[in-house]
Amino acid sequence: MGSEGREGRVFQHRGDGGGDGRAMNSGIGGTNSASDKVSGVTMCSESMFYGSNWDPMVSLGQSGDFGNSNIVPQSQFANNPLMLENQTMCGSLAQFPSDSGLVDLVPRIPGFESGSFSEMVTSFGHNSDSPNHEKGVSQDHCPNSDSGMLGVSPYGKRKREVQQRASPKSGEEEQRKNPSGDTSREDDDMKQKFEKGIARGKQAGKQAKDDQSGAEPSKDDYIHVRAKRGQATNSHSLAERVRREKISERMRLLQELVPGCNKITGKAMMLDEIINYVQSLQQQVEFLSMKLATVNPELNMDIDRILSKDILHLRGGNTTPLGVTPGLSPSFPFPPYPQGAFNSTPGTGPPFHSLPQHIWNAELQGLLQMGFDPDPSGSMGPNGSSKMEL
């Protein structure tokens, strides 16, 4: 696709980008050569702009999400928060090649649904390799040392380029548009939108990564957040959004815990359900303790002896039932409980318990029913560790 002089220059500077651009053009296929040129041009110009951001977009663009190749560059534009309007961007960026005839081939495609954008956004919204990330959610002010995006900046250093692409970009866009000068209306639109979007571009610059695949976001100390379309980008609202995401994640966890909450959406109702559930659990504990208090005197000795014997069996070396290490670890170092031996469990537990009871039940039953005999399967044989760790 080096037919355009500008393209050729771009490919010289951005070997990777150019290569990918070519790959992408070939990957799209099925289009006429003119549209290929258009997409190639737009992708080249994009590669100038979006640095490594573009690459994951390329891979996404090749998926079945987009109908034709003409849509692809637009989607990439739209995904970059700098580009607020697909139509204007596509129309104006298509002017970059001196051949203005290609402009007609780029249709005005109405905006995509934001869902696909946010998908694309979040897919690499957590890229955090760049050392230029100052804070996870605060904006940084990009130094304007990089004057020219197109021919000047060394594309080997993609991080710097991406970070600074926001501020010089508007200038370049306008420069490039002026020679062609076809649609001044779109220029004005773009100017406005660039100014609006510069803040977002700065934000976007932080998530750029050298990762060509753009597949896996890497975790860092920070949580990197990308401002989605139509969202405010100052640090407070971003921090708020991170906090809200944390809260919604925990609400999802709670939703799994509380039975019957799968259909409920909405924080208020979920909270109500959670509160009710906790209250009912606490009431159950009180009820059970009341029952145990009345039953207790006859019961206690046996259980205690059984349990202490069980502990002795399991832990191998402990002589006192108090030899329980207070630490708690989620791992399960015990030898397997004799689950296979006992498969009948009484209907214990209140009806809304969703947790599987077989492990505890089997163990307790085994101990109670078999008396103090060790498990026939020998799973509770001498335990190597003298201390139980839980």
């Binding site: 906090r243 809260i247 925990r250 609400m251 966890l253 709670l254 815990l257 509380v258 208020a268 909270l271 959670i274 509160i275 559930y277 906790v278 209250q279 659990l281 606490q282 504990v285 059970l288 303790s289 009341m290 029952k291 145990l292 208090a293 039953v295 207790n296 005197p297 006859e298 019961l299 206690n300 000795m301 046996d302 259980i303 205690d304 349990l307 502990i311 039932p321 108090l322 329980v324 207070p326 630490g327 708690l328 989620p330 791992s331 399960f332 409980y337 009484p346 214990t348 537990g349 209140p350 318990h353 947790l355 599987p356 009871q357 492990i359 505890w360 163990e363 307790l364 109670l368 839980l390």
Partner: protein, 142 residues
């Protein structure tokens, strides 16, 4: 399942502690052996304390329960600290209800309140299972 293993570990630890506490309760001469209401109160306190002790000081709610039960000497100090509560929710409705339910919930941020609630719910479920099992098996034994 990690949660399953976590649950059975918690259950074992709780069961041990609870049974020991009940044994101690039974051996106590005096009111607790005769007055059924006091027995109930003591049993319930033993259950909560055993659960918190089984969890350990890693969670905020268990720390709160443990400080309530074990260190009564320091009640004066804790009351003073409570006056300087940094996070006072003024009539948030549900949120403060939840804070009232989860032990130690009054001093937490909302985010940590939610995760503490999740852990607390799991431990409550484990506790109920153990106590139910003890009750049923004891009644079956008798």
């Amino acid at each position: 399942m990690a949660m399953n293993f976590h649950q059975s570990a918690i259950k074992t630890r709780f069961a041990v502690r609870f049974v020991q506490a009940m044994k101690r309760l039974n051996k106590r001469r005096g009111v607790t052996t005769t007055d059924s209401y006091k027995r109930y109160r003591a049993t319930r306190a033993a259950a909560c304390a055993s659960m918190a002790s089984a969890v350990g000081p890693q969670r905020a709610w268990s720390r709160a329960v443990l400080s309530k039960t074990k260190r009564r000497r320091f009640q004066a100090i804790s009351r003073k600290r409570r006056l300087i509560n940094p996070r006072r929710n003024l009539g948030f409705g549900q949120e403060e209800d939840l804070r009232g339910l989860v032990p130690g919930g009054k001093g937490m941020e909302y985010c940590s309140l939610l995760s503490e609630t999740a852990h607390y719910i799991r431990c409550l479920q484990a506790q109920i299972q153990v106590m139910t099992d003890i009750l049923h098996h004891s009644s079956s034994l008798n």
